[in-house]
Amino acid sequence: MNKQQNKLQALFSNNKKEENPKALLSIFATAGYPHKESLPTVLQELSKAGVDFVEVGMPYSDPLADGPTIQKAGEKALANGMDLPLLFQQLKSVRSELNFPVILMGYFNQALQYGLEKFAKDSKEAGVDSYILPDLPALYYEEKVKAVFDAYDLGVNFLITPESPDERIKYLDQLSAGFLYVVANPIITGQRADFGEKESAFFDRLKGLNLESPLVAGFGISDRETFAAATKDCSGGIIGSAFIRALKGDNIPEEISDFISSIR
């Protein structure tokens, strides 16, 4: 790619140049959870704790790909009055203090109703670096969405699973903006993943494909052990449900620093 690297790509390529590249740790946090005003504090504390990049979840009424923990967090956030304008406003208010890329994660209908153009524009202004929209089909993205997002230098990171055929993985690799989101087990968020033989076979297959995008493991990582296992073959790992469970909201700085130090 001869285009200038975005923040997300730079994170991965700089880390790779290190003598001992570290396993990049990413945290998923639902905006508006546990409290309406929590997001800025959560992001600041994640930054202090040295997290490498963050997904901010846009709470949604019908989160098809999410397990009970993230569903409940989303319901609570919606009940708290979180919405996209507020999310953008809160993110913007602390963006300059955060030293990591921020990915917005949610469902395509949210972007569609907000207006794709306005969604991209407001994302950019708030300091969003990239998206994960699990239910946005790649082909539809290419035909109807990509040009709009590209105009704001915003890309989408696609999911792959052990059941994705080689050709499809190569296609999604080309289309992904920063990384490929590897769902090692065909599960929804919040279930504990196994990283056993079947997964190793999958990672071997991925190695053989010589992909351009770095791999990030997501879904089912909950503790030091699963994080270590998941990042054996991936550049990084994303923790969602386990983080949400740890985030009680009584003392966010302490809860976050305790959680992150329990992972690495």
């Binding site: 019908d62 949210q110 089909p137 699973t161």
Partner: protein, 392 residues
């Protein structure tokens, strides 16, 4: 090719597609690659037709209603889907899909249900075929629809409460999809209407098409007509309408009319008239008209009829409406009740509340002299007696 069938990617015009996360891609792909070929096999057709005849009780009569005809000055025929086994059109689809599931080597069936009609129709065919059956049903609906929950259990189905979101049909559908993701190898998901990711809308329409196939030959045989002037059906997700319209989609001489649930009125928050009030959006894996707020959060709809109480309509129907091929009338709860009471008194037929919406739409329509209209009477009213009793 018909402009009212899907293209390769499952789009009817601007609507349809498969907006599913990658984890669901193999599930949808397996169906997409196989369903058409499998259902077109002569052995499949033979088994399907035989079950429709001997088990479901098809063909259902096309009944000339003298009383309605006299009242509206049109020739009104009722397609009696209410006489099917289990009391509605839903079983046409569940029979088709369970035969498909068997050929795909599945052992376990899952389904979503709102009022329980689709759950009962699914539990029925699972009992028939000896398949394990799990029905996802909103926690609130389980409490509201005790008789249908009992029916499903009696036929050996497990009813799992959906506890997420608004704990109704849309959430039961989300739960069924979540159940399906890790269980694809042994599980088939029977969606109950022409909604969901491609290929469901076209597949369910295909199985329901038996309705218009029969209308066609019955019209010829009994009324000497090649086609009706108008076909009228209620629309929840849209499967009975899809079946009744199917063989007339490309015959522009035939007027296609939908009846939607206005609930307490189009100008209230308690309505389910998606064709009137919905905007293009994604729900349950397809892009269609959807009841949603400005942020795309799905709105819980309202109708007195549980089968019409769904915040979307099938992509085919969204396309039919947008292209002007079909029109839609919105019918309130009260109008539907009145129409049901009226049909019971004048014809001795107690319709399902859903079907009563189609009957009530007759009041809003204008007819040419001697216009021949087929109204798809999608189901019978046994399940709705509790609602009707309040008005007797």
């Amino acid at each position: 090719m018909s402009q009212y069938k899907t293209n390769e990617e499952g789009f009817y015009g601007d609507f349809g597609g498969a907006f599913v996360p990658e984890m669901l891609y193999p599930n949808v792909k397996e169906l997409r690659n196989n369903w058409q070929e499998l259902v077109e096999e002569p052995a499949f057709q033979k088994e399907f037709q035989k079950l429709l005849r001997d088990y479901v009780g098809r063909p259902t009569p096309l009944y000339y209603s003298k009383n309605l005809s006299a009242r509206y000055g049109a020739k009104i025929l009722l397609k009696r889907e209410d006489l099917n086994h289990t009391g509605a059109h839903k079983i046409n689809n569940t029979i088709g899909q369970i035969l498909l599931a068997k050929r795909l080597g599945k052992k376990r069936i899952i389904a979503e249900t709102g009022a329980g009609q689709q759950g009962v129709a699914t539990a029925t065919v699972c009992a028939l075929m000896g398949m394990e059956c799990v029905v996802h049903m909103g926690e609130l609906d389980i409490a509201r629809q005790a008789p249908n929950v009992a029916r499903m259990k009696m036929m050996g189905a497990k009813v799992l409460p959906a506890k997420s979101g608004s704990r109704t049909l849309k959430d039961a559908t989300n739960e069924a999809i979540r159940d399906w993701i890790p269980n694809r190898k042994d599980t088939h998901y029977i969606i109950g209407s022409v909604v969901g990711p491609h290929p469901y809308p076209s597949m369910v329409a295909y199985f329901q098409a038996v309705i218009s196939e029969e209308i066609k030959w019955q019209l010829q045989r009994d009324f000497g007509r090649e086609h009706p002037d108008t076909v009228l059906a209620c629309v929840g997700g849209g499967s009975n309408a899809a079946g009744a319209f199917y063989h007339f989609l490309d015959d522009e001489k035939v007027r296609l009319v939908m009846a939607e649930a206005a609930g307490k009125g189009l100008d209230t928050d308690e309505t389910a008239a998606t064709g009137h009030l919905g905007r293009a959006g994604v729900l349950h894996g397809s892009l269609s008209l959807v009841m949603q707020d400005e942020q795309g959060q799905i709105i819980e709809p309202w109708s007195i009829s549980a089968g019409l109480d769904y915040p979307g309509i099938g992509p085919m129907h969204a396309h039919l409406l947008k292209s002007g091929r079909a029109t839609s009338y919105a019918v309130t709860d009260n109008e539907a009740i009145e129409a049901a009471l009226d049909l019971a008194k004048t014809e001795g037929i107690i319709p399902a509340l859903e079907s009563a919406h189609a009957l009530a739409a007759l009041n809003q329509m204008a007819f040419r002299k001697d216009e021949l209209l087929v109204l798809n009477l999608s189901g019978r009213g046994d399940k709705d007696m509790e609602a009707y009793m309040r008005f007797l």
